[in-house]
């Protein structure tokens, strides 16, 4: 069984950040593996626990993103293709998906896994774009993934409940972080990761992206609230009084 996983490097959004001259600055300047993609890698590892197979990572990003490839290899993936773009390349989901698809067309796999969205932009587009480019049946927002004979069975979290889907291979599944808790690489894993094959291919986006960020704005200010301590009954009374008379949300 061959599993391809698309992984992306994203800024550590839990670090403090601010807007400087219209651009975003993260205090730690740290980049991480997109959490949803870590879940996709974990899902692939779990699928191969009692099965012959290999995991091939695909990442489109600047030179710095190789740390992220290393991290996913250290988790246990077998090899990687790094589509190297210049540090300042302008990309959006549409352009990234075309570049990734072009590369993926040259490989065979049974399952292609993606994260359901990027932690930084929350776009959630690339996965289904790839499915369309590659004409694959797909399921998004998977919280469960198993194999049954020749079928991939994905449980996707829909709007009102969970949809259990059976897909023929090859297929694409985008993973939610609610699917699993990704393993932390062991020291041995990290040691081995340095010897795993990483193919680097330079690509130059030949189009300007159709979507562009023009600038960042802080969120609208919230008026600071109040905080009360005290006896439960007293607290309850005070809250109800305020909800009713001040905020007028009880009716």
């Amino acid at each position: 069984m061959k599993i391809a996983v698309c992984i992306k490097q994203v800024p550590d959004i839990t670090a403090p950040l601010h807007i400087q001259n219209g651009a975003l600055v993260f205090d730690t300047n740290r980049m991480v593996l997109n959490a949803y993609d870590a879940s996709a890698v974990e899902a692939a590892l779990v699928l191969l626990e009692n099965r012959e197979g290999s995991i091939h990572l695909f990442l489109l990003g600047p030179d710095r993103a190789k740390e992220t490839i290393r991290k996913a290899l250290a988790m246990g993936a077998h090899e990687a293709t790094h589509l190297l773009v210049p540090d300042d390349a302008a990309l959006d989901a549409y352009l990234s998906a075309s570049l990734l698809a072009e590369q993926l067309k040259q490989h065979t796999f049974d399952i292609l896994l993606c994260g359901k969205q990027s932690q930084d932009t929350d776009a959630g587009l690339t996965g289904t774009m790839l499915a369309e480019h590659l004409a694959l049946p797909y399921a998004t927002n998977a919280v469960g993934l198993t194999l049954e004979d020749d079928l991939v069975v994905a449980t996707r979290q829909g709007d009102a409940g969970q949809e259990i889907m059976a897909l023929e291979t090859p297929c694409l599944v985008t993973c939610s972080n609610d699917m699993n808790n990704p393993r932390i690489p062991s020291i041995k894993g990290i040691m081995q990761s340095k010897r795993k094959p990483v193919q680097t291919i330079s690509v130059t986006p030949d189009a300007t992206p159709s979507t562009q960020v023009m600038g960042y704005e802080p969120l609208p200010e919230r008026t600071p609230g109040v905080q009360w301590e005290g006896e439960p009954l007293e607290l309850a009374r005070r809250l109800v009084h305020h909800l009713n008379d001040e905020a007028r949300v009880l009716s």
Partner: protein, 441 residues
């Protein structure tokens, strides 16, 4: 044991990363293990990294666009404060304005992570590019011993072996204690607690307020009301667009004073008129607390080396808090470098016994670090005397108030004012004793 390393380093703080850099530069096969999610994740410093040694590890570090530091120190201030006033020694000099800068402010999460990336680059350039590793997110739980010598580490279910281990685990040095180099229990007299807040400003506002140019910065230490009667002092350092402000407080004294919360003391310190003026309009980003050594030589481990092991940085108690600065990071860096150099030499001789590793101890003794630590013990003790954080600052401020007040009354002689202030806040005898002690500094 085909996977045996030349050296394993425990801790990816300043000491560990500095040792790692030297290991990479000397083509040693090594493994560095850091328990934080990344290097710097949990590390806390004020902090100014004093000295110029960083330039040795990362030549021309200030030129890189991604440089991990904040500002270099061009303006220094030592402030004595009472409840309302601040009396400062203020020194600013273009002399400080040249690379390699002898003091830079850093924010550890960013700085350590940056230094780690430089170590990664050095590994890549070394002869063992695929055989040396920086591993974050793993806790070393135990040192492995064979006939009394340290031979490796255990982390979870994994064990790794090496010719020797460099301990760079910081002040909470459990592994140093495991092998008996330090008693299990360190008395509260020898530890302090540091609390620190990072406050953000618009960069332009910050630069105007503190008269900073380009990457120049200010370091300001405080004694007196800063610590509100508790032994210790305060600091304020400018970063690129933030200010680090905090207190270092003696643990024992804190307990004896009924355990006021360090955070409450910091809050009061921040509200002091002199400090509040500097912080106005800032947005508090994060708050952190961490144990710090006091630099008291009596708290040092029994020894900083043994068969197959070397102890560096704050794990070895190496820190000097002389009142005009805290030197923990440069000590960590210097000792990390010396330890790795000792390992490289031991590798030449293929001898990792205590006798061979003693060269680390010798190098430490010969360096500025141990000379200063020994030489400034009196300063350390002086700093811990109540006079220094109470009477002296009060006296200075009282004198300042008289000296700088101009009203429609006959002006008195400065010497008379000083006598007054001394009588009010102390005594001539006490001042003479202090002066006698200070004479040795």
């Amino acid at each position: 044991m085909e996977d045996k390393f030349d050296c394993i380093i425990v801790g990816g703080g300043i000491a560990g990363l500095s040792a790692a850099m030297v290991c990479a530069q000397n083509n040693l096969r090594f493994l560095l293990v850091e328990r934080g999610e990344f290097c710097g994740a949990k590390n806390v410093s004020g902090g100014v990294l004093w000295g110029t040694e960083l330039a040795r590890l990362v030549p021309d570090y200030w030129k890189a666009p991604d440089a991990g530091f904040e500002r270099f120190i061009r303006h220094r201030r030592l402030t004595f404060m009472d409840e309302q006033s601040a009396f400062s020694l203020d020194f600013k000099s273009d002399h400080f304005d040249q690379p390699p800068y002898a003091g830079i402010t850093v924010l550890r999460a960013k700085f350590d992570n940056w230094l780690a990336s430089k170590v990664e680059a050095a590994i890549e350039a070394s002869a063992f590019a695929d055989e040396s590793f920086l591993v974050p997110d793993v806790l070393v739980e135990e040192l492995l011993l064979e006939s009394g010598a340290v031979v490796g580490i255990r982390a979870g279910e994994e064990t790794f072996y090496a010719d020797c281990v460099i301990l760079a685990e910081g002040v909470n040095n459990l592994l140093t204690r495991q092998i008996g180099l330090q008693p299990e229990y360190v008395p509260a007299d020898y530890v302090a607690v540091g609390v620190k807040e990072v406050i953000r400003f618009d960069q332009k506002v910050l630069e105007d307020r503190f008269q900073l140019q380009d990457r120049s910065g200010l370091s300001n230490e405080f004694v007196g009301f800063a610590s509100q009667g508790v032994e210790g002092g305060g600091f304020l350092y400018t970063n690129l667009d933030t200010v680090s402000v905090g207190l270092v407080l003696g643990m024992k004294d804190l307990r004896e004073k009924g355990g006021p919360k360090p955070y409450d003391l910091l809050d009061t310190f921040k509200r002091h008129p002199a400090v509040a003026d500097m912080l106005r309009g800032g947005e508090s980003l994060e708050y952190a607390a961490h144990v710090v050594s006091t630099g008291d030589i009596r708290a040092l481990p029994k020894e900083v080396y043994a068969d197959g092991v070397l102890v560096t940085g704050e794990a070895a108690g190496l820190l000097l808090n002389s009142g005009k600065a805290i030197q923990g990071m440069d000590y960590a860096m210097h000792s990390g470098i010396l330890a790795a150099e000792a390992v490289a030499a031991a590798k030449q001789d293929e001898d990792f016994s205590a006798a061979s590793l003693k060269r680390y101890r010798d190098a430490l003794d010969a360096s500025y670090l141990m000379q200063d630590m020994r030489g400034f013990q009196d300063a350390v003790h002086l700093l811990h005397s109540p006079a220094m954080f109470q009477a002296v600052p009060n006296l200075f401020c009282d004198f300042g108030r008289q000296f700088f007040t101009i009203d429609n009354a006959p002006t008195r002689k400065a010497s008379a004012m000083l006598k007054d202030s001394i009588r009010k806040h102390s005594s001539f005898l006490e001042m003479m004793k202090l002066g006698f002690k200070a004479r040795k500094l």
